[in-house]
């Protein structure tokens, strides 16, 4: 444990844009209790993510990547351990405060796009703003700006099933960004795409990270795509096996 702490401190000190950590988790455990047997999904995970960092999480199936991502994204709770988001103790928050924090600062992108089938592109983009209670006129402006920026104005009245996979993922990225979150969690965002589409999405995320300082945490199986990150966390059986610093991204 002291080793991971040290590595973490190192990571914090590697001269990223901001020294202030956005996320810190300490001694995180997640398990499922079945018939009095605890099955551990995450064990003793300690990790810091700096504001503005691009972090990749890798590992074989069942290593706990998605679970870690969901806990970091406040969709799920750990059974044990601390979670500080902007120095706020998320592990002590009730669901309502957690939802509020999540809504304010977090965007999600999934492998299977996960747009809402019953909503048009426009409405899918609008929905997070509705939950944030953004006023009607401002909402309209934001949705239209985003449609412009992602070049999908012509698709705004289509339903998800009328779009290709790449287009759906584009809408999903747009939807994740529309609330201007501090951090985007991406769960194998290119897993269902062909390589050209996948590269486009990755470039878009990298650009977002570079130019707007949005923190990105992605889970991936793909060594190449993992290297878009500043660091790669390697998970195995629920533990952090090692932390790899991607050299060419330094300085």
């Amino acid at each position: 444990m002291s080793e991971t702490m040290t590595m973490d401190s190192k990571a914090g000190a590697v001269g990223l844009k901001h020294d202030q950590p956005l996320i810190e988790v300490i001694d995180l455990f997640k398990y499922y209790a079945n018939n009095f047997v605890k099955t551990y999904v995450l064990q003793d995970v300690t990790l810091g993510i700096a504001d503005g960092e691009f972090l990749s999480i890798m590992g074989p199936s069942g290593a706990g990547k998605s679970t870690l991502l969901h806990i970091l994204g406040m969709l799920d709770e750990a059974n044990q351990g601390q979670y500080l988001f902007l120095n706020e103790p998320v592990h002590r928050f009730n669901e309502k405060r957690r939802t509020a924090l999540h809504r304010e600062h977090v965007g999600f992108i999934f492998q299977a796009y996960h747009l809402i089938d019953d909503l048009t592109v426009y409405e899918n983009l609008e929905t997070p703003l509705l939950y944030k209670k953004v006023k009607s006129s401002e909402r309209k402006g934001l949705v239209n700006d985003t449609l412009d920026r992602f070049n999908i104005v012509a698709k705004k009245d289509l339903f998800p099933h009328q779009l290709s996979g790449g287009q759906q993922q584009l809408v999903a990225v747009a939807r994740a960004l529309i609330t201007r979150p501090k951090v985007i969690f991406a769960d194998e965002p290119t897993g269902n795409l062909n390589s050209k589409q996948g590269t486009e999405i990755m470039e878009m995320l990298a650009q977002l990270n570079r130019e707007e300082g949005t923190t990105i945490v992605q889970v991936t199986h793909d060594e190449v795509k993992a290297r878009y990150g500043h660091r790669i966390i390697h998970l195995l059986d629920g533990r952090i096996e090692r932390v790899e610093v991607v050299g060419d991204k330094l300085g």
Partner: protein, 807 residues
Amino acid sequence: MFRNIITIALRVLWRQKLYAGINLLGLSVAIALSLLVALFVVEEYSYDRFHTNADRLYLLNQHENPPDRDEFGSTSTPFVLGPSLAEQSAAVEHVVRLTDWNTQARVGTEAFDVKLTYVDDSFFDVFSFELLESASANPLQNLSGVVLSESVAERLLGTGPWVGDTVLLELDGEEAEFTVTGVTVDPPATSSIDYQILVPFDVIHRIAQADWMTMWMIVWPKTYVLLQEGASTAQLDQALQAMYEANDFAGMFGEGGLWYEYLPITDIHLHSQFASPELGTSSPVYSRILLGIALLILIVASVNYTSLALGRSVTRSKEVGLRKVMGAAGSQLRRQFLSESLLLAALAVPVAWVLAELALPWFNNVAGRELMLSLDPLIGGILLALVLLIGISSGLYPAVVLARYNPHRVLKGQASVGGGSRFIRGLVVLQYSLAALLLIGTILMGQQLQFLLNRDLGYQGEQVVNLSSSTRSRDVAADLLERFRARALQEPGVLQVSAVSNTFGGVWGQVGFDTDDGQFMQVYANSIDPDLFETMDLQLVAGREYSQDRPGDFVSGIIVNEAMVRFMGWDDPLGQRLPCSEMDAHEVIGVVQDFNFQSLHNEVEPLVLFVEHTALAPGINDVVNYSGVRNELLVRLDGSDIAGTMRTLEGIWHQVAPEMPFAPEFLESRLNAYYQNERTLSGVVRVASGLTVLIAAMGLFGLVSLAVARRTKEIGVRKVLGATVPQILTLMAREFSILILVATLLAWPLGWFAAQRWLEGFAYRIDLNPLVFVVVTLSLLVMSWLTIVLLSLRTATRNPAHALRYE
């Protein structure tokens, strides 16, 4: 946000057409029925509220508690009561005495049966009936004038204006001419006072003795009191107390033997203990039964929404997860799902309105009303309340369950069937218990009604026509009978003609007298024509009938029924007399086998028959509904060419009684009328049970199709493992069969208990047949099996590879 929620809700409903359709139809039916019931109940509770002074208007109800007698209350009051109150109490603004009198009116040569209503001239100051035409400021002050309701004016006199026209009214056997001094709009349907012709009260002298006007022992008219503004009924009590002492009521009625109750006019309609026909009162029981049935169907329809929404919750769990990822709070999601159920309930309203319009004629027929649908604020408010009630009660639990889904688990594909499945089972049991209960009720009520109509009453009521003459004169009635009988018996289709004072299928009169040992005794009594036994096929068990050979029997012979013999404890009834020496000489000449002269709600009670009541009259000191005028003619037909015979009888009637309307009624239809309430209730329950079964069946249809969809893969696997089609169907049917079995078994004891309670209202009733309960359970089971087979067969017979490939 709101627009967005509505858009989504509409799209969801549209995409799930089957479930939306099931719910929409069920809710529409439930709302339509509730709407009709609301119309009925609103009218029931709005009686007499149209009077401007309704809050100060009271009807006096006189209670007496004489020694040796049961306490009784009646709205018949002394003539002198009203004027005395007006004179002696400053709290009284006006008094109106009112009494009805059925008679005949004649215009030219045409005769009409009419109802006169004698009223004091303050009538229009007290009540808010609207004058259409009037000869003067107060048309009731002219003693030779009458005020007609508009429809009666049209019936008697044709088109208006009517003021100045004249009508002849028969008063105590003589005709008197009256001038129309006013015409009013017909009294509203919600008025407990229903009049045709208003006659100045003082005209009552022509049918009442002058000394009655000052006697406290004679009760007849109703007395209505309009209090001064701000006055209380306690002030009336003071005035009555003073009268009590001044007139020595204690001497007449015993200490505390007389008191008055003040019925607010708006309470009269639902005060069924004063169920006098002229007040047209109703019982709040009807409102409660209908409200109960509407509520029941609302529950069954709402349950469909809840159970189908829960059944589909897994399908929607992904959406819940995504929305949570996008920042939705639980409360926002609950609001979204609740808005879907509210929207559906709201969409059901216009459909319900159309259904209610279509069903209104049937409902009016059953309820005996003339209700109309119009969207006034009250009905609008009721509809809004229904939408909120249905939307929230049916949608709340699914909304809570759905909003609870954990996004992490849903997105990892770990969502379970959810907390709803046990709840759904409970709801199915609830639905089918109610359906079974209503089915049991429907069958048992039908059986009891059938039993009542088929029972041997102790007389032959078939092919007997009742001809009612409205005369109140014994001589006129006797003369009419003789002349009619002489002509009618010559017709081939007529077997016998007779007459009675109180006829079959009506209420028979009672007479009361004090026995020699000081007991008050009350028995049923009827004055009959000697030929009644033959006409009605009554059976004599001892003694002799009346016959022209023994004219002495007509005055001093009485015939009693077996119940009377038992009641009196006579070992040898023949030759006995009633235990009252004030009566003149009389004796029992015969005993008639018990026959049901009342409805089968009642046992056969002691009855005394006689031709003339002259021998008994000196001892009789109490009379209920008995006149001694044999003005009800009974004609037995031989059953061939009934229509032709009836035409002939009408011709004879017009010749022997040209001034009286010909109003034939078959006894069978009069007897049916005894059970009108039961028939109405049974009809309502039958429709309710039909609707409940239909709605519950639609719900089952939805649940089974969900179950089939959910278990498609399982069915495929089982077939791969060698399951046969019947085995698959059994598998699918098992769960629902158990639920329905449990539900109907729960309904058994409840149904048994409720049926027992209802049957207790009848002296003659069916035995509860356990088979009925078994049949109800079986028919609901078979219905569910048909549903299940219909829906599962395709999946069960399909190549399993198909199901598994798409998994």
